[in-house]
Amino acid sequence: MTLGWPEFFGDAPVAEVEESRRGVLRRLRSGLTRTRTALTERIAAIRFDPEDAETWQELEEALILADVGVQAAGELVQRLGRRRRIDDLGAALTEEVAGLFGPPPRLLLAEKPAVILVVGVNGTGKTTTVGKLAHSLTASGRSVLIGAADTFRAAAEEQLEVWAKRAGADFVGSNRGQDPASVAFDAVEAGIARGRDVVIIDTAGRLHTQANLIEELVKVRRVIERRLPGAPHETLLVLDAMTGQNGIQQARVFSEAVQVTGVALTKLDGTAKGGIVIPIAYDLGLPVKLIGVGEALEDLRPFDAGDFARALVGMAPDGE
C-alpha cells in the first residue's frame, strides 16, 4: 500500500483521499507509457523467464538505461539471480529495492519547530520542492515558515515568496547578498518566536565541486544548530531524477558536509526513472523520502519503494 502523508508525517493514519493518490499514479504512469519500449515490455512480469539468460541481460540493460549504473545493476541482477524462483519480477525487484532503502520513510517532525534544511546542486527543483512540501504540511494542519537562504541567485527570493503564498506559509527573506547563514538564523528565530510547527530553509543551488560554497553550507547548518540544538532535524538533498552517475558524487559530498538525512527525487513525471538513487543507497545508505512528479503544488508524494521499483523496469505501478 502506498505510503500516505499522515504516516509519513508521523500522524495517526487517516483514510487517504483516493483522488490525490490516483492523480499522482496517473502522472507516473503517463510518463511510463510514453517510454514503454519493446525492451521494457519484455520485462513485464508475465514474460520474464528466469531460465532465459537473455532476459537477465535485458534486465541489466534496462537498469543501466535507468541510470542505476553498471556496478549497482550487476549487484541487483546477482541478488535476484540467487533466488530460487521468480514468479513475479515486479515483486522480486520490489523486495530487493525495498531492502535497499529500508522501511517506509518518515519525516522527523517531533520537535517544535521541526527544522528542515533543503540543499542540492543547481536546477534540481529545491525551491519548488520547498513550496510543495510546505503545502503538504499546512494541509496536514501544521503551521509552516519558509526561510529564503538563497541570497545569491537573481529573483530567488521572489520565486520562493510566491510559493510561500501558494502554500499558506510564513516567509522570511533577506537583502540580496546577505549572508545565507544569518537568514537561516533569522528564519529559525522567527519560527520559534511565532510558534510555528515547521521551519523549511531553502538554500542556493551549488555544485559539490565548489569547496567554498560547500563550506558556506556547513556554516549555515552550524548556525542553525547553534540557535536550536538538534536542528536541522531533516536535511533533504534534492536530486533531479535525470541525473547520471555524477549524482553519487553529489550525494557523497553533500552528505559528508551537512549530514543529509534523505533524498527528494524530483521530475519523475519525465521519462527518467531516477535509478541513481540505487547506487546512492548502496554506497551511502541514504533513503529517499520524497518524490516530485510535476510543477504544481500537489505534485509531491512520500517515497514508495514498490512503485519506484516497478517503474524502474517499465512496469505499471501496483494496482493499475
Partner: protein, 443 residues
Amino acid sequence: MFDTLADKLQGVLGGLRRSGRLDEETIGKAMREIRLALLEADVNFKVVKQFVESVRERALGQDVLRSLTPGQQVVKIVHEELTALMGQGDSRLAFSRPPTVILMVGLQGSGKTTASAKLALRLRKDGKNPALVPADLARPAAIEQLEQLGKQIQIPVYRSELRDPVAVARAGLERARLDGHDVLIIDTAGRLHVDEALMAELVAIRAATKPTNVLLVLDAMTGQEAVTVAEAFQAHVAFDGVILTKLDGDARGGAALSVKAVTGKPIKFASVGEKLDQLEVFHPDRMASRILGMGDVLSLIEKAEEAVEADEAADLERRLRSGEFTFDDFLSSYRMLRKMGPLKGLLSMIPGFGKQMEGMNVDERQMARVEAIILSMTPQERRVPQLINGSRRLRIARGSGSTVQEVNQLLNARKQMQKMMKNLGKGKMPALPPQALGRVGRR
C-alpha cells in the same frame, strides 16, 4: 589503484609485447574496459555499443606504436574516435537579416535563463547589439530573474504583460526590431520533452518568431535519458545546436556525446560557472578527454609520438629486447626525453609515475652532464662499453669536464639499466630511472 582509463587498460593489456599487433582477444578485453568507462561517464548505452564497435574495427590489426604502451595506444584510438564523433566544435551562430532570433529551449533546471544572459553578454562583446525576451511565464519570478540579470550586464529585457508565451515572444521581437537590435535571445520555460501541450507551444513560438538558431540547453550531469530528451526536442522543434551547462562540476558529461551521436547537432557552447562571463566556445577534444576521465595523459602521448622517429625507435626496441643497452641507446633515450619538453612536468603526467616523481630531483643540468660524458666517448666505446678501461675513463673525464668518479657512476648506471631492460616485461616507456643517475653529475 587504477586511476585513469589508460592505467586500467594497461593493467588489462599488460602482457602484450610491444611490437605486437592488437589482436582480437586483447581488443576484446580493452573494449570491455572502454564500455565500462563510457557508461560510467553517462554516455548512452546504445551509443556506447555502436561506438565500441567502431573502435574495435579500427583497433584491429593496428601496430602498437613503439613509444606507447598498448594501453596508451588503445586510449589514443578511443580518444581520436571520440573527438571525431564530437564533431568539429562549430561554435558559430547563424545570423540573418536583423534581428537574428535565438530561441533557448530545454528541460526545467537546465540553465536556460543564465545561458541566455551569458550569450547576450558574449554577443555584445563580439560587437552585436542584443536584447532579451523573458518568455517563461510558468515559473514564479522567471521574468524578474532575467530582468535582474539583464540589469547586471546592461542589456535590455523586453517583458510584456501578455499572458501567452507566443504573444510575449512576438511582442518582444517587434520591440527589438523597432529599437534597432540585431540579435534577440528568447528565454522559454523549461518543459518536459513528453509534454505534448508544451512542446506544441514551443512549436508555436518558433513559428511566430522564426529563429535562425534554436539552442537546446542541456545539463552536463544528465544521465541516460539525454538521448530521449534530445530526440524528442529534435522531432518537435528541431534545434541547431546545444549549450552544455554546469561543466564547472565534475560530471564527465557523456550526455554530450550521446546527443551529438544521435542527433548530429553540434555543441556550440560550454557554460562553466554562474558568473555571466563564464560561457566558452566548445572544444570537442577536451570534452573527449573529459568523458574518458583522462586529463593530461593525451598530450603526453602526442608529445611522445613527435619525439620518436620510427627507425630510431624500432632499432632501440630490438636491442633492448635482446638485452643490449649501449651508450648510443642511452643518448637516444635522453634525446627523446629532451625533445618532449621540461622533464619533471612531463614525467609527472604519466599515470602512476607522477607519485614516484615526488621525492626525486630530475635535474636538467645533470642530464646535460651525462650527455657530455657520452659525447666524449668514441663511437666504438659507446657501442661496446666493456672496452672502457682506466685510461679511457680518464680521457673521457677530461674531455667532458667531469671526474673519473662520475664516469664510473655512469658506467655503473648503464649496467644497472641494461639489467633492468632485460627484465622489462611490462611495456613501460623507455624512461630512464632517475635514481640510477641520481649521483652522476653531482659534485
